[in-house]
Symmetry: C2
Subunit: 157 residues, 2 copies
Amino acid sequence: MYNHAPEGYICPICLAVQGIESEQTMAKQSDIVYRDALTLVYVNSKFVGNNPGHVIVVPTAHFENLYDLPVEYAHAIVETSQKLAQALKAVRKCDGVWIEQNNEPASGQHAFHYHMHIIPRFEDDDLRNELAKGNTRVTEASERLPYAEALRAYLGT
Amino acid sequence: MYNHAPEGYICPICLAVQGIESEQTMAKQSDIVYRDALTLVYVNSKFVGNNPGHVIVVPTAHFENLYDLPVEYAHAIVETSQKLAQALKAVRKCDGVWIEQNNEPASGQHAFHYHMHIIPRFEDDDLRNELAKGNTRVTEASERLPYAEALRAYLGT
């Protein structure tokens, strides 16, 4: 419903779920911090402002957005988001957790596979301004690795 | 877990759920657009920038944040959020839907009862900048009424 993926879209998130690294996939297998039958979580390849190392929760099957998500996946995603919010609190000693989930390009959706951002918040991180300025940068996998390793150690994954 | 409500906190969202209007409650009963055993939805009393009439989903029992939410409420909230996202698409003819959910003051949480924002998005609404500028305003119930009535008519509530 209200899908925007172009004809022949090669879904980078499906590739990541399948364990494939290619030119289409910014996410590397070393970014993955959690997996169950219905959900996958990885450290986002883009870091935002003063909130590096945030994570993305996705369904393991392809659905473009919230409107399309079958109920079993919707349930699994919210359960996984809780696990990760608690993990970020423990591992990052963050002062809060921000959930953002964008549906359709007008809402800022760029990858056409449902995904939820879970961002550790810190006092005075000025996140809204950083996001408004578009202050994000694509990182190397090596820069993401310590964030992924700390979450895997905490989650036992 | 990680709760911030001060001692003796009078929860405005619990009052709204209980059908009570008072000085503590910005939400009026006429703002409510959907209710089931575990969730309640109302038109937010604050309008944001160019995206007026967005809605808030809350659990009908008191939990401060995502960390604390029992799984049955978490499931119900994501199901209700889907209903409302689809309703906003139909009623507002919006171009997208934005989900935001803030945990703890450092993440911008002001009311200490879990709540999820569901915001209709429009091309060029410049929402990130409007939010960064803090461009929100408290409205009169009468201004919210057409938004609530349109959603109730669609949802049959």
